[in-house]
Amino acid sequence: MSHLLLAQIPFLAPFTALGVYWWILMVPLVFGIAVVYRATHDASLDRFWTRAGLFTVKSMVAMMGLALALYLFVYLVIPILPAD
């Protein structure tokens, strides 16, 4: 990973150091959305970061659940369906 970091020119060249772990970037994306959503939606800003973090976790779990359901549907349900 270190040689990839050396090749990185921040804000000019794409950040490629994560490689196959690119999907981790979904977490900060959802967290950013959670921060804006909580800032505009909540009447009180008490425990703001905790609630934004919880929103992130819930969203991630929901997306992982949907991904798992889709995986099971494609690999388990579709193969047993009649072909014609």
Partner: protein, 158 residues
């Protein structure tokens, strides 16, 4: 009667705060007295946008090549236009990196287009583009919030 209702609704909308919110995310809420809320919104929107530029490079914001994405990104305000300008001034002009010929599209008689060696074409370009676009769309939420939010000084009167 209906005209009076619409006029009172128009008075309730904070157009100046909404415009300020487009110029700088969260500024609308700050001007209305909701300083902390505005700072949180600013951190969220600018964090997403700057994060997108970091991940995919300034090539993620391209008014000409990715016009549909840019419509969403432009919601983040002048920072999107600045990133598009930086893309043209630094990468597309060849001031940073090198310009190389890319293959001519099939059937085209036009000369081969020149692209920067730093052009972002990988998966990270897509992710960076998505980050910037979501920053713009979330700022529209922030702007609509500023448009309808009751100013802090008027909250006690209600």
């Amino acid at each position: 009667m209906a005209r009076d209702d619409s006029a009172s609704l128009d008075e309730q909308l904070n157009w100046k705060a909404a415009a300020a919110g487009w110029l700088l995310p969260g500024l609308g809420q700050i001007l209305l007295g909701h300083r902390q809320r505005g700072i949180y919104a600013m951190v969220g929107v600018l964090g997403l946008f700057v994060g997108g530029l970091f991940l995919g490079g300034v090539d993620c914001v391209d008014r000409r090549e990715d016009a549909l994405w840019f419509y969403a990104q432009a919601g983040a305000g002048p920072i999107a236009f600045g990133a598009d300008y930086a893309n043209g001034a630094l990468l597309k002009s060849g001031r940073v990196g090198e310009l190389v010929e890319s293959p001519t599209p099939f059937g085209s008689r036009a000369p081969p287009p020149q692209v920067s060696t730093l052009k972002s074409v990988t998966l990270m370009n897509e992710i960076g583009t998505l980050y910037c676009a979501l920053a713009g769309l979330m700022n529209l939420v922030v702007i609509m919030d500023a448009l309808k939010r009751v100013p802090r000084e008027a909250e006690g009167e209600r």
